[in-house]
Structure formats: structure tokens, C-alpha cells
């Protein structure tokens, strides 16, 4: 392929670079070719290209379907439906409650995993991350067997007058159970990526470990903490299996949006689609907010030093 003119924007750019570099070399009338050949772009084998395009369509088409079939005109009205609003309120309560539980339990856990070495750490860490891969229904069953009326802690909880099953608290617990690993992973990564010199210096300034954690560690891992919180919240918001198993499906009590959507699909599919659309929008917002942090929770602090000698 000898420099076909006007072929492909990106390839053209590369050609200019190569041409400029080689410009002084060939003298006029020498045997060198008139134009420097452009390095051909990597050919994508059809056997790889085809499945990847199908895969892309597989992910995109359902979303397109949702957008195309959405009853756009009646979406606001359907979202204003009392049943939907109740489920929305419950979902918000439940997801933020689950996030609160995850934060209270997960941040200290993440600190422990990132900063303290103890025997059996790898095993405990694997256990905390287990809900990532565990079928949520199994999580719900496990929660029942631990905190349900006939569960391990059931009689004790009952004697204290606490009922978790089929209650909002139970729905929060179910959400926290599946959301916790997301929070722990993000925050642990952020703490592990934090240079210890800040915490050490704080200690030499007379700050005890708890004060160091609250005044130095937490503010410095704020980006990772925010990313983890967003992930955990979104996971709890969408939780279905563990919630329905452990907290049930009581309208006005534990019936959150995902459960409501599932039931509505039977007798009011358009409302189900409208609610799905809303949840999709929320997911997109979370994803956009996480952009850049999604895969790199350990990114360095965004402080760009500006040497300012003039101010000295």
C-alpha cells in the first residue's frame, strides 16, 4: 500500500508524521521511492470482528427496544401513579438505607483490609466479596437463615422485639448485603493507594489512629469513597432476588421499584416500561458520574502543584 491519497482520516494523520520524519533523507534523483509507505492499519480478522459486532448489538438492542417502545407521552403521568410513587419512595429509602449500612460497616472493613495484616485476611476478604458472585436469591435465603424467625439469630432478635424479615429494615439489609462488596472494593483500593506519609506525619503531630482516620485518611480518599458509594447505591437500588426472598414483596412496605416493575409487567406493561426507563436514566447518571473512576479507584489525588515563586 503506497500512500493512497485521501484514505482514512486517522491513517492520513499517521502518514504526515512519517513523511515529516523521513523528509530530509531522500535526495532528488536518488533511488528512494517518491513517497514513504504508510504502515497499514491492523486488519481485524472477520472471525473476531463479527462476534464483537453481534455482542455490541446484543447489549445495545434491548436498550434501543426500551427507548423505542416506551410510551413517551404518558411517561410523566405513569410515573406519577400513586403505586409507582410509593415504590419509588420505598426504593429511595431502601437504597440509601443500604448505602448507610454499607458505609458504616464497609469503610472500617476496607481500612482493615488495606492497612492491617492479620492471619486469615485473604479468606475473610474473599467472604466479604462473595456476594459479588453469589446468586442474590441465595443471599436472601442465607439472610433468612441468619436473621429470620427460625434463623440462627432469630429467637434472640425476637426477644429484643426486632423483626427484620418482611420489613423495610430487612429490605435495607438485603440491599446492603449485595452492595457491601462494591463499597469495600472501591474504598480498599483508595486506601491502599494512599501514600502513608500523610497518616504517619499526622500521628507524629499527636493525632491518635481514629483522629488520623477521620481527618486525614477519609478526606484524602474522598474520590474513591464517592465512587464506591455510587456503585453500592446503584447496586442496592436494583436489588431484586435478595430483597424478595428476605423482605418479601409487600406493597407499601417492602415492594421497591424492581419488584414493582416485575409485577406490573403482567397487568400494566406500559407503566413497567416507564419505570424501567427511569431506572435506566438513573443508571446512566451514575455511570457518567463515575466516568474515569470506574476502573481506577486508586487514582492519585487531583492536586496539581503550581509552583508559584512570585508569591514567596
Amino acid at each position: 500500500m503506497i500512500g493512497k491519497p485521501g484514505s482514512g482520516g486517522r491513517a492520513g494523520h499517521r502518514e504526515t508524521g512519517a513523511g515529516a520524519a523521513a523528509a530530509p533523507a531522500p535526495a532528488p534523483g536518488s533511488a528512494a521511492p517518491a513517497r514513504v509507505p504508510r504502515i497499514p492499519r491492523t486488519r481485524v480478522p472477520v472471525l473476531l470482528l463479527l462476534p464483537s459486532l453481534v455482542g455490541l448489538a446484543f447489549v445495545v438492542l434491548p436498550l434501543v427496544g426500551l427507548l423505542v417502545r416506551a410510551p413517551w407521552q404518558s411517561v410523566p403521568e405513569r410515573l406519577g401513579d400513586p403505586a409507582v410513587r410509593t415504590a419509588l419512595r420505598l426504593s429511595i429509602q431502601c437504597s440509601f438505607g443500604a448505602l448507610a449500612i454499607s458505609l458504616v460497616l464497609g469503610v472500617p472493613l476496607a481500612w482493615l483490609f488495606a492497612r492491617v495484616d492479620f492471619p486469615g485476611k485473604a479468606l475473610l476478604r474473599a467472604l466479604v466479596l462473595l456476594p459479588l458472585v453469589l446468586p442474590p436469591v441465595v443471599g436472601g435465603v442465607a439472610l433468612l437463615l441468619a436473621f429470620g424467625r427460625r434463623g440462627v439469630l432469630g429467637p434472640w432478635l425476637e426477644s429484643m422485639g426486632v423483626r427484620l424479615t418482611f420489613s423495610m429494615t430487612g429490605a435495607m439489609l438485603a440491599g446492603a448485603f449485595v452492595a457491601l462488596p462494591f463499597l469495600v472494593l472501591s474504598v480498599e483500593g483508595a486506601i491502599a493507594g494512599l501514600d502513608r506519609k500523610y497518616e504517619e506525619t499526622a500521628a507524629t503531630l499527636g493525632a491518635g489512629p481514629l483522629r488520623v482516620f477521620c481527618t486525614v485518611t477519609l478526606p484524602l480518599i474522598a474520590p474513591g469513597l464517592a465512587a464506591g458509594s455510587a456503585l453500592a447505591w446503584a447496586r442496592a437500588l436494583g436489588e431484586f432476588g435478595a430483597t424478595i426472598t428476605f423482605a418479601g414483596n409487600l406493597p407499601g412496605e417492602t415492594q421497591t421499584l424492581p419488584l414493582a416493575v416485575y409485577l406490573m409487567l403482567q397487568d400494566d406493561p406500559d407503566t413497567a416500561v416507564a419505570v424501567s426507563l427511569m431506572l435506566l436514566a438513573v443508571s446512566v447518571v451514575v455511570l457518567v458520574a463515575l466516568r474515569g473512576r470506574w476502573l481506577s479507584p486508586t487514582r492519585k489525588q487531583p492536586y496539581v502543584p503550581e509552583p508559584d515563586e512570585a508569591g514567596r
Partner: protein
């Protein structure tokens, strides 16, 4: 009188220290000698060495860092990036139980004292390297620690800033009444800031003496070279000192047979274009490897040759300091064959 600091370290670095109140001790040595490790051990921070430490007679060796009442400035200052300069300085004061307002007030006073007035509201990212070091020093000094540990406070700065921060350090370490240790790999910093020098090499203390004593009789080739001297290690015998490269150096100093450090001041090295016929006992042929200027004096690096006459190099370089005029008379230039002479009385020997 009990020393302000008494310590013994084990691990990567073994050292015994006694520092009196108000004394500034410079810990000098090449990279990897264990200087920072020593400070971390004294601060109670995790690292490859442990220390038994008593501050003002109080045993703090088993206490965590936050109960030791120390000030510690790590290599780049480690200012908290999310706090302003004033709140950085106030951090340790709050820990000492001052009210928020009191801590803020005192922090501003400290910033003023270190010439940082007007920068109180800036975050570390908006400060220059020198300003950051000053804030870090203010933050460490503000809570009035009984032991101050500074790890390479000048290393990250450019030459000009370095001089001004060094001046700040001198001004504030003078009145400081606790024990102070400064780690540096620059003997010049040590000479200008410290009352005492602790020379550390590969995990052991090779010399613990006043800066004057260290300059007069260095006990480590590294510190001697950093001070601008020619320094070689060798073994002294009845016929002189045998260097590792086979050369034998005659000295008027009388030391017991055994390992010695040989130092020669560059002023005492004479250069000749012909083999000298004078009274110099030590004469080496070589070639001029480098000519560098310092004011009216020139430093000439002579690379000794293996054979009797000028030829290919062998053994460590010898540096001579001559006046620019003398260099011009000899027409010294790089690559020129020369003879270097040193009188036996100018060769200092220190038993190691």
C-alpha cells in the same frame, strides 16, 4: 544531667545516641546508609529498625508515635493536601488540646515567623517547594515537640531556594530547646546547621564528632570526598600505605599497622609538566581528566596512569586545587600529561 534524647537502635541501622537539649545533630551519609530508617525508628514509625528511646528521661520506646511528643518532617514535607497552610500548622496544635480559635491564632503566628504571612489560606498545591518546606517546619515546630526529626529538608529544593530555606532552618533551630536530628546527604548543610555530625555508612555510625573535628579528620572516605578532599582507603605498613590499586603512599603520620583512611587536601597537591625533582615523596604520572573552576581557584582532576610515565588510567582520581594563574602558566588542559606530587607531611592518615 540527662540528655534530651537517649536512644539505641537495632535492625537495619545500629546506633547509640545521646543528644542534649538545644543540640542539633546532623545525620550524614550516602544514600541507603540508613539515615531515614534511623529517624523513623526514633519516631516510632514502622520500618526496618527499632529503637529504645528516652526523651527528657521519659522512656517512650514502647509508645505509639502520637504519644511521643515529637516533630517529624518527612522528605517532601508531606503537607496534608486537603488542608490550607494555616490548618496544616494548626493540626498538631489541636492535638495538643488547643481550642480551634487558639490553634488558628498560633498557626498564623508561626506562619508569620517563617515568612509565610499571606499564604495562610493556600493549599500545598498552590505553594512552591520552598514554601512547602517552611510550612512543614512550622507545622512540626508549632506543638513544641521535645524531639525534632527532619528528613532531608533541603534535598528536593533548587539551589537558590535551598540557601533561603537553610537560612530559615538556622534561624529557627538556634532558639529551639529540644533535641534535633537532621538527615542530609550534603555535608555543607550539616556544617552550616549542626552542632554535631553523625556520619552513617551501611547501617553503622562511623563518626560522631563536631563538624570541625569531622572536617579536620574525617573517618569515612565518603564524607572526606563530600568535603572536597582526596580520600582513599588502604592498609598501612612499615613502607607506607598500600592502596587497593597497588599504589603505595608515603606519609609522615604515624599510625599503627592496619586499615587507614588516607586524605590529601587538594591545596597540597602540586602539578608539574616534567617529572619533579623536588622533595615530594609521592609522585604520580597521569593525565588531566577534568578542569572545573571555583572562583579564583581551579580544581584539576588528575587520572593516574598505570605505568611509570603518563599513560592509560589506573586507580582513583587525584584532585589538585591551583590558582588560575598557576594553571595558565602550566597551560593545563584536559588530556594533558602531568605529574602530581604530594609531600609526605601533607598526607593525613586516620586509623579505621
Amino acid at each position: 544531667m540527662t540528655a534530651a534524647l537517649q536512644a539505641r537502635t537495632e535492625g537495619l541501622i545500629t546506633a547509640e545516641l545521646a543528644v542534649s537539649a538545644g543540640e542539633v545533630v546532623a545525620v550524614v551519609g550516602p544514600n541507603g546508609a540508613g539515615k531515614s530508617t534511623l529517624l523513623r525508628a526514633l519516631a516510632g514509625l514502622p520500618g526496618p529498625a527499632r529503637a529504645a528511646v528516652a526523651i527528657d528521661g521519659r522512656d517512650v520506646g514502647t509508645l505509639p508515635p502520637h504519644l511521643r511528643r515529637i516533630g517529624y518532617v518527612p522528605q517532601d514535607g508531606a503537607l496534608f493536601p486537603h488542608l490550607t497552610a494555616a490548618r496544616n500548622v494548626a493540626y498538631g496544635l489541636r492535638g495538643r488540646g488547643l481550642s480551634r480559635a487558639g490553634a488558628r491564632e498560633s498557626a498564623r503566628e508561626w506562619l508569620d515567623r517563617l515568612g509565610l504571612a499571606g499564604l495562610a489560606g493556600r493549599r500545598p498545591g498552590q505553594l512552591s517547594g520552598g514554601q512547602q518546606q517552611r510550612v512543614a517546619l512550622a507545622r512540626a515546630l508549632a506543638p513544641e515537640p521535645r524531639l525534632l526529626l527532619l528528613d532531608e529538608p533541603l534535598a528536593a529544593l533548587d539551589v537558590e531556594t535551598r540557601a533561603s530555606v537553610r537560612h530559615t532552618l538556622r534561624a529557627h533551630l538556634g532558639p529551639y530547646d529540644g533535641a534535633c536530628l537532621i538527615v542530609t546527604h550534603d555535608p555543607v548543610d550539616a556544617l552550616s546547621l549542626a552542632d554535631r555530625m553523625l556520619v552513617v555508612e551501611s547501617g553503622t555510625v562511623v563518626q560522631d564528632a563536631s563538624p570541625a573535628e569531622v572536617t579536620r579528620a574525617p573517618r569515612s572516605a565518603w564524607v572526606a570526598r563530600m568535603l572536597g578532599l582526596n580520600a582513599y582507603t588502604g592498609v598501612s605498613g612499615p613502607d607506607g600505605v598500600h592502596l587497593a590499586d597497588g599504589r603505595v603512599i608515603a606519609s609522615a603520620d604515624d599510625v599503627p599497622a592496619g586499615p587507614v583512611l588516607v586524605t590529601v587536601h587538594p591545596d597540597h597537591v602540586t602539578l608539574h609538566r616534567e617529572p619533579p625533582a623536588g622533595s615530594e615523596r609521592n609522585v604520580w604520572a597521569g593525565t588531566v581528566a577534568e578542569v572545573t573552576g571555583t572562583g579564583t581557584r581551579l580544581r584539576i582532576t588528575v587520572r593516574p596512569s598505570a605505568g611509570p610515565g603518563p599513560g592509560p588510567g589506573a586507580g582513583p582520581d587525584l584532585v589538585a586545587e591551583v590558582t588560575a594563574q598557576a594553571a595558565a602558566e602550566l597551560a593545563l588542559g584536559e588530556g594533558l600529561p602531568v605529574w602530581a606530587g604530594v609531600k609526605a607531611t601533607a598526607v593525613r592518615l586516620t586509623a579505621l
